[in-house]
Symmetry: C2
Subunit: 404 residues, 2 copies
């Protein structure tokens, strides 16, 4: 191999979801697209709100080209960072200033900025299962290792009880994803307060502050009037990473921000550090899109399609005997595999395999650190979901037959 | 420090040019903007060609929102990668396919993608002085070390004679910048052929292939009818990194591409590897800008302003007794410090200091690995250059007085 030893396994193991997606395309050619039910990718199916393209059109027409396409401070345009801080302060009663906001190349860019500045070779980041699969790769690329606290299979809240066992002197960061991909669960204020208490003990053990990456691309995708707790009210060393990928349906544009809580320990060092790794990694967030989202901060996504899909799938799958929690946020349903097997991982792998036979593309929970479950992304056409129920029914029957 | 040991020195040392830029802003407040001559930043002063904003306006109006702002393959839209490959093939008689092209978050993103996939902890990258200062930081952030071959102060071509001394088993990559920032020099076909010969010996010594990052954001900024040699015609393991930041005046947008030469050793592994680290680092290049540059590939920058500035500065500074090469490309003039001093680094530091007294903001060449020189970025208003000559005259007089 000419690539590094560190990265070699990432190339091989990285593409499980994408491979499934490619398989789906092949199936669509063979069986007709209307007969394949692809629940693999978290790609928004609702177009960006009209204000997005209107703003883009207006900005390129009315503003000076050297400004809208030019370099600004590495952390982003002052006017954009001020608008983001002001918006968060209005919405959450927070006290951010422009200095706490760094515009990023999506949430992935924001997370990488943070990992790159905190991790020395072989340092550790703690995640709670189930977790977004890419975390492991982000951490590995930054030279560190991901330690995973096993899932609390009862509630899929953070498994705080087992967290202390994973803390060591090498622990520099914790990463959580709220609302959670893949479980759709919203972490409660109580859960977050318990995490903060556990962190205080962990910091004593580690001998240094531990910062928490709060990865929140789904913050505005919540249902039934739920509200995501404002993280910095609960977590002291809170580095909030937001992305407009899901809320404004702009995943290809790579635009988001990191908000550094004013309560963070060593805040000037942390801010200078994250800005530094951000500059080295990508210079700045895409300029035209920075100016665009500034005008769309108050825009809420139209969740009606996702909400319809969520209820439709939940009701029909539970009626077929599948077990899952009703998702409170994001656009994923996390379903327990009914297949009896010696190991959880075998059970979910078998369900994925049986699903493919019915042209159902489901993602194995093992990659998310929660074997025994499969993820169903419901950011798809409602009509496809309706067509898929017959396939799910056959899948349930096949599982029952297999279990004997 | 809560940030990593690896990154700590980068935070402190990183901002020399940006600090100078900030100092210039303060000076402007104190002395009036018309009395400050800021030659610090490589920020294009010529607006993006009209076709750029026209295309953006048209695309957001005519194309489907889910397509233009959505996820595509991590390497970029097929149609864009095909267009880039086709363009390079027409222009250079190359034989790229879409598979060789990865759309990137500017040149910085492209370089980081490559460094992250090739470097294990403590591996080495070789640069030739003078080199773009950020290379050291990119390499450090990827866990490696930058080894620097000293400048050939006669010609500022690559110092191939001394290159072999820097090669070891740890050498994984070489990085060159053509046309060169800060010298403005264009590497000749002969220089590149000598590099390839030296690389073949280096690969024997290292025991593995050595890939060359050809960082070419200034490829289309050349003067007097010069043409940049097509790198893969000379360098076998050539990874060309291009950016539209300078040629289309889009530095804030972060859009560029990596072209992997079809002649590269282990090309499938290298391509899969770079695509993998690209995905982990930033998912994909900004989507709307990908679709935009597709329509602007044949658009040449208007170099008339830069060319005027180049000649004006060169003629006047050499008339004042300053020594420098006439730049063939980019928008920098690299001027020898006339200050007599024990060490080259002292000489250029003193010139920068004396320059500030005359409100001239020049960048010390020491950061570029070429002490004894200063960089003048001439991507500025021609009027400011004209106003600056009296200050340069006073600077020359002060240097002469100091030298006695």
């Amino acid at each position: 191999m000419v690539v590094s030893k560190r990265m070699e396994p990432l190339i091989k193991g990285s593409s499980a979801i994408r491979m499934l997606f490619e398989e789906g395309k092949k199936m669509a050619l063979e069986y007709g697209p209307e007969n394949v039910y692809d629940f693999s990718l978290g790609n928004p199916s609702v177009p960006a709100p009209a204000i997005v393209n209107e703003t883009i059109g207006r900005v390129v027409k009315e503003s000076e080209s050297l400004y809208i396409h030019g370099y600004m401070k590495n952390a982003g345009f002052d006017e954009v960072r001020e608008a983001v801080a002001g918006y968060l302060n209005r919405r959450y009663g927070a006290s951010y200033t422009m200095e706490n906001i760094i515009m990023t190349v999506g949430a992935a860019g924001g997370i990488n900025d943070i990992l790159n500045i905190f991790l020395d070779f072989d340092d550790e980041v703690i995640a709670f299962a189930p977790f977004f699969t890419e975390y492991r790769n982000y951490v590995k690329m930054a030279g560190g290792n991901l330690a995973v606290v096993p899932a609390d299979y009862e509630t899929f809240q953070l498994n705080i009880d087992e967290f202390p066992m994973y803390v060591s002197e090498k622990t520099k960061l914790v990463i959580i994803n709220n609302p959670n991909n893949p479980s759709g669960v919203l972490y409660s204020a109580e859960t977050l307060d318990r995490l903060q208490t556990a962190l205080e003990k962990a910091e004593e053990k580690a001998g240094h502050p531990i910062y928490v990456i709060c990865d929140e691309p789904y913050r505005d995708l919540v249902y039934d009037g739920a509200e995501v707790p404002f993280m910095p009210d609960h977590i002291k060393n809170c580095l909030s990473v937001y992305s407009f990928s899901k809320s404004l349906s702009l995943p290809g544009e790579r635009i988001g921000y990191t908000a550094i809580s004013p309560k963070c320990d060593y805040i000037s060092e942390v801010t200078a550090g994250i800005t530094c790794s951000h500059r080295i990694g990508c210079v700045n967030a895409p300029s035209l899109l920075q100016l665009t989202i500034k005008e769309c901060l108050e825009t809420r996504p139209d969740l009606s399609v996702y909400d319809t899909n969520r209820k439709l799938l939940y009701n029909n799958l539970t009626a077929l005997g599948f077990e899952c929690l009703l998702p409170q946020g994001a656009f994923y349903l996390f379903v327990k595999s009914p297949v009896k097997a010696g190991k959880k991982a075998e059970s979910s792998a078998k369900l994925v395999e049986l699903g493919k036979k019915q042209h159902l593309l489901l993602v194995d929970g093992t990659g998310f650190g929660a074997p025994g479950y499969v993820r169903i992304a419901y950011c798809v056409d409602t009509a496809m979901i309706e067509r898929s129920f017959a396939a799910f029914e056959r899948l349930a029957a096949e599982c029952a037959q297999l279990n004997g």
